[in-house]
């Protein structure tokens, strides 16, 4: 899922300051699963903002609404009426959702309430980890399904650097050294010799480095 984290209340207060009536718009997909912007979190955010404004003796009208997904227009349209009644929309979706909502309501300022961070998994309860960098040319077959682009801080393709300690990354001891995991996994699979093969430089054209990407499926364009 896409993982993100709510911005601090103080930052959000600054972002919505020019607007009196604000709609907090939640999303029921990725940000719901990482507890950043689902229906419950939207309710909490709206209430927290009201409390915050009240405490400062400010007049403000904070409303809330949640749609299934903010990355698809057909769902966003369900929020048309609440959106029409507000001065600005605070979206708690990922950055993609915020932009899609802005396209649907071009006459309303659409503001982000969440910092979108990574593509990841729920490693264990309450712990989300980054797993995929969206490089566009998946090489997981070479590396025993452990990605060195996303999970090695140096994106090394041909083996670990000298910095890991006890299987942990030199950058952060809370993070496993991806290469340690790759070696462990391939050893368990009896495929450690895979690592004998030289892996040439990545072609970054399929990644964000080549510019924002597109997927066109003609079979679905009617």
């Amino acid at each position: 899922m896409i993982v993100g984290e709510q911005k601090p209340i103080s930052e959000i207060r600054e972002i919505i300051a020019p607007y009196r009536r604000v709609l907090v718009l939640g999303c029921g997909t990725c940000v719901k699963t990482c507890f950043a912007g689902g229906e419950d979190e939207t309710a909490v955010m709206a209430s927290a903002l009201r409390l915050s404004l009240k405490k400062d003796g400010l007049a403000g009208d904070i409303r809330e609404w949640t749609v299934e997904r903010q990355c698809e227009d057909e769902f966003i349209q369900e929020a048309a009426r609440p959106a029409a009644e507000c001065d600005a929309i605070l979206s708690l979706a990922c950055g993609a959702g915020v932009q899609m909502v802005a396209r649907r309501f071009p006459d309303k300022p659409v503001l982000p309430g969440v910092n979108t961070t990574f593509i990841g998994v729920l490693e264990e309860r309450g712990l989300f980890t980054e797993e995929c960098a969206g490089c566009g040319q998946c090489k997981l077959a070479l590396f025993g399904a452990v990605c060195p682009i996303a999970r090695c801080a140096k994106k090394l393709l041909n083996g670990p650097c000298g910095g890991s300690r006890d299987g942990r990354c030199e950058v952060n001891p809370d993070t496993a050294c991806a290469w340690h995991l790759i070696i462990e996994r391939l050893t368990a699979l009896g495929q450690l010799d895979n690592l004998r093969a030289y892996v040439p430089p990545t072609d970054w054209r399929t990644s964000l480095s080549g510019g924002p990407r597109k997927l066109i499926r003609e079979d679905h364009r009617i």
């Binding site: 209340i9 309710a43 915050s52």
Partner: protein, 149 residues
């Protein structure tokens, strides 16, 4: 003026009639909210209690190891910690939100909880978000060091 305290409780952990028997009951307006399981109270209801002019909010849950839903009270503790940090960030003060482990067999635990809550309110004063006061009045109150009646 009286303190407003919202009390979220479930019948497994608390007998609400106890509120009438507290020695300081004339200084407080209690708003009891009865639930099937107080551990499962949604975060937003705790915040809305503050929006509705609560000066403090108590969630009474069953003692550790005694939750009917096994982990409910553990999860509640974690969530309330999170909400307290949020209330600090907002500037209301996380100390106003309290989790108490109670048991209908030992009324003392809940009683002690309410007493320490009163002590806290005497130090902190009324919630800065209370409609009656607004921002200016709440800070006047704090400058004098004591809550106004």
């Amino acid at each position: 003026m009286k303190y407003h305290i919202s009390v979220f409780y479930c019948v497994n952990s608390f007998d609400a009639s106890m509120l009438d028997r507290l020695p300081f009951k004339d200084r407080v307006v209690f708003k009891p909210v009865k639930m099937a399981c107080s551990s499962m109270v949604k975060d937003v209801y705790l915040l809305r209690a503050f929006e509705a002019d609560a000066d403090a909010v108590v969630v009474l849950v069953c003692p550790e190891g005694h939750c009917r839903y096994v982990e409910g009270n553990l999860r509640a503790a974690k969530r309330i910690d999170w909400l307290r940090r949020l209330l600090d960030e907002i500037g209301i003060g996380g100390v106003r939100l309290v989790l108490c482990h109670a048991s209908s067999g030992r009324a003392n635990a809940a009683g002690a909880c309410f007493e320490s809550m009163l002590t806290m309110l005497e130090a902190e004063g009324f919630s800065p978000a209370r409609s009656r006061w607004g921002a200016g009045a709440a800070s006047d109150q704090r400058r004098n060091g004591k809550p106004q009646r």
